[in-house]
Amino acid sequence: MKLKKIGVLFVIAILAVGMLSGCSSSETETGEKTQLNVATELFSDTLDPAVAWDSWFVMRWGAGETLVKFADDFSFEPWLAESWDVAEDNLTWTFKLQEGVKFSNGDAMTATKVVESIEKLYADTAVENGGTGNPQSYFTYSSITADDAANTVTIVTTEPVPDLPGCMAYPWMLITNVDESRDLTTQGPICTGPYVIESMTPDTEVTLVKNENYWDGQVPFETVSILKVEEPSTRTLALQDGSADMALSISAADRETLESEGGYEISVVPGSRTGFAHPNLNGQLGNDTLRQAVLMAIDGETIADVTTNGSYTYGYAVVSSGLDFGYDELTYKFSYDPEAAAKLLDDAGMVDSDGDGIRELDGQNIILDYKVTASRQMNVIAEAQAAQLAEIGIQANVSITESQSDVLKNGTFDLCASNDVTTPTGDPAKFLGYWYSKGERNYSSYSNAEYDAIYEKLIVEFDTEARKGYITQLQQILLDDAMPVVYGYYNYNLCSTDAITGAYCPTSDFYWVTKDIKPAE
């Protein structure tokens, strides 16, 4: 009997040891770290680069690579292409590919493969095939040809596209080994990055393994686990208890805690993201005076510095003050001044005549439907703004939506928050299309003939200095028209523990897991 009991205890002990050892699978017997654990707030539902913005994740997770890469100042660096040039006609671009690049399945990345990859993306995303039409909005080509002997790809665009290298650096242009039998949604494409996607649970977790055929040096980790951890404080706790080696978007308050504890690498960079709210000019905000008063009632600087605790750097223009696009030359007439805002409304006859604390415009209470997503503290900013608007008699009802794209497309908002990379292709030309009245993304229904004319010049201009000039002018027009409600410029952050080295936050938001992240010595 006693023997039996001892036997049972022994089995339990063995099981317990087995379970516990299972928890520390990220280390080998010699104690060397073999798994990189990442905690992130953002995640995708599929692995198909043709679906919406899902390509971003394939690239961020270290699986996909593009021909061109952004440096931190948004200049272009060679990646899978070693060089490129444009012909006299401003339409014919030739990309010379790196030698010796292999896909993760061992196939060589030839010029033909690159052409197939781009053709597949354009076919899958074509609107007539039910796609998003996103890459087509960046550029369209009349021909694309491969020269395997010279290892070059030649693209002839339909219009002059001055920022084509930037377009080629955009994540959906990641080069894949086209295999029609593959289910891209769940298996993902075959790419050239240091890690290969092994399995993925949509919106939850993805596991990657080392790419044995990686072309650009040693791959440091055997496996990479990327876990969606939505709650910012939970991501901090994951870093603190060691279950995550690196985490993105740690709140400013928690960054202070980590800093005081020591043992963490905290990288904060002013990215090219602008947080802002599109005003819907088809609603009450179509009234210029009201829009001006709204801007003047909001203390953007305090909201950025105090409310978001520095997660945003305040600025009034749509393009970040940290980028070299003429911020210092701009003038702004609607700085924070609640008294002046109230006076402006009083003078325009927008007063509270029924005593309910809310002013009226054309006999209707000014009640703004303010839609935000809860990411990047935009909900907090919107609430702070709503509190300030209430002080001058404007009610803003803040409601949180899952994604803003439907809201924007359907026009069911007065203010709709957005947080955009302003330099997706190296400069803000694409981003400024939001206010081009003939564009498809003009969600505000904004229309200004002068803006349109300059915008049309900008998108075909090859001279960098001239482009900067146009971009500055466009920003000034928007500022004068009190468009849109700018929160400021989002500062990316990435925190890592001392178990790893080389984790760092790029300004472009495209590269998270890279071959440069290594276990600490």
């Binding site: 709140s251 105090v306 409310t307 907090v380 609430e383």
Partner: protein, 309 residues
């Protein structure tokens, strides 16, 4: 009134809890007098101040006085809980009484409907309903009502079934009482004590359900001060500003405990068994009761002796 005072005198515990509950309701009613600041007034520069003499419970992210928001939060939390309980109590009881009284197909339809509702996990179903209706306090109340009425329906139906075929009901029917009269005069009053006890003990749990929905973003919307929502707002600051979680959590805890204890002690007061004992005492007195018991024994003896003969 005399009766009420008598009951309170006999049940000091119940009296105590009543006072506490009344205190909570008073805080809700007199919130504008008690709150030191306007709960909506945001002074952005005063964000996340620690509790101090100026702000006893500190300030939140928008620099609003947290104590004032907690006090105003009593309004939202208590009133929505009371409205909810009143709703599920009246809707559920009515459905149950009708099903129990009429029986037949109406009973089958209503009770199968209740079975279907019970088959779903209630909070998850409430989340789904609130999600479809859109987030707001009213919709959260509707969602919880839809999932919670079944408890009262089943309870009142079983109580009605118990007395449906008693002699006094048959007598009432025989003397020409109409259905409405029967339900109003006999069925409802007989089911009420048990239902009221259930309702009183439910206040606490319903409040937690409302707070859960608000925490998840389906109930109260900003800038409304509501404890569940305040917890949700504060959760990002778990490490740096724990008071944002401690105070609303404490408020929910205290109020739920008070209402639960009140419900429990109300059960002790209204317990039908206990009431029966009291009324027996009142009717007969001890001597008379002994006499009855003795007579009963004599009757028994006789029966036995008769058998022998």
């Amino acid at each position: 009134m005399k009766n009420v005072i008598a009951i309170l005198k006999q049940n000091p515990k119940f009296f105590g809890y009543c006072l506490l509950a009344l205190g909570i309701i008073l805080i809700a009613v007199m919130a504008p007098l008690l709150a030191p600041y306007d709960p909506y007034s945001a002074e952005l520069v005063n964000a996340l101040q620690k509790p101090s003499a100026e702000h006893l419970m500190g300030t939140d992210l928008l620099g609003r006085d947290y104590l004032s928001r907690i006090i105003y939060g009593t309004r939202a939390s208590v009133s929505s809980a009371l409205i909810l309980v009143a709703l599920i109590f009246s809707i559920g009881s009515l459905i149950g009484i009708l099903a129990g009284y009429f029986g037949g197909w109406l009973d089958t339809v209503l009770m199968r409907l209740a079975d279907i509702m019970i088959a779903f996990p209630d909070l998850i179903l409430a989340i789904a309903i609130a999600g479809i209706l859109g987030p707001s306090t009213t919709n959260a109340i509707i969602a919880i009502t839809i999932v919670s009425w079944t408890r009262y329906a089943r309870l009142s139906r079983s109580l009605v079934l118990k007395i449906r075929h008693t002699d006094y009901l048959a007598a009432a029917t025989l003397t020409g009482s109409k259905t409405g009269h029967l339900i109003g005069r006999y069925l409802a009053p007989n089911t009420l004590p048990t239902l009221i006890i259930t309702a009183a003990t439910d206040i606490g749990s319903v409040m937690l359900q409302m707070a859960s929905l608000s925490f998840l973003g389906f109930g109260a919307q900003p800038p409304m001060p509501e404890w569940g929502y305040m917890l949700s707002e504060g959760r990002t600051y778990l490490q740096s500003a724990p008071w944002l979680l401690v105070f609303p959590g404490l408020a929910i805890f205290v109020v739920v405990v008070v209402f639960n204890l009140l419900g429990d002690s109300l059960r002790d007061v209204l317990d039908p068994q206990r009431e029966l004992n009291i009324s027996k005492k009142r009717l007969f007195g001890k001597a008379k009761r002994n006499e009855i018991e003795e007579n009963r024994c004599i009757v028994c003896d006789r029966d036995f002796s008769g058998g022998d003969a």
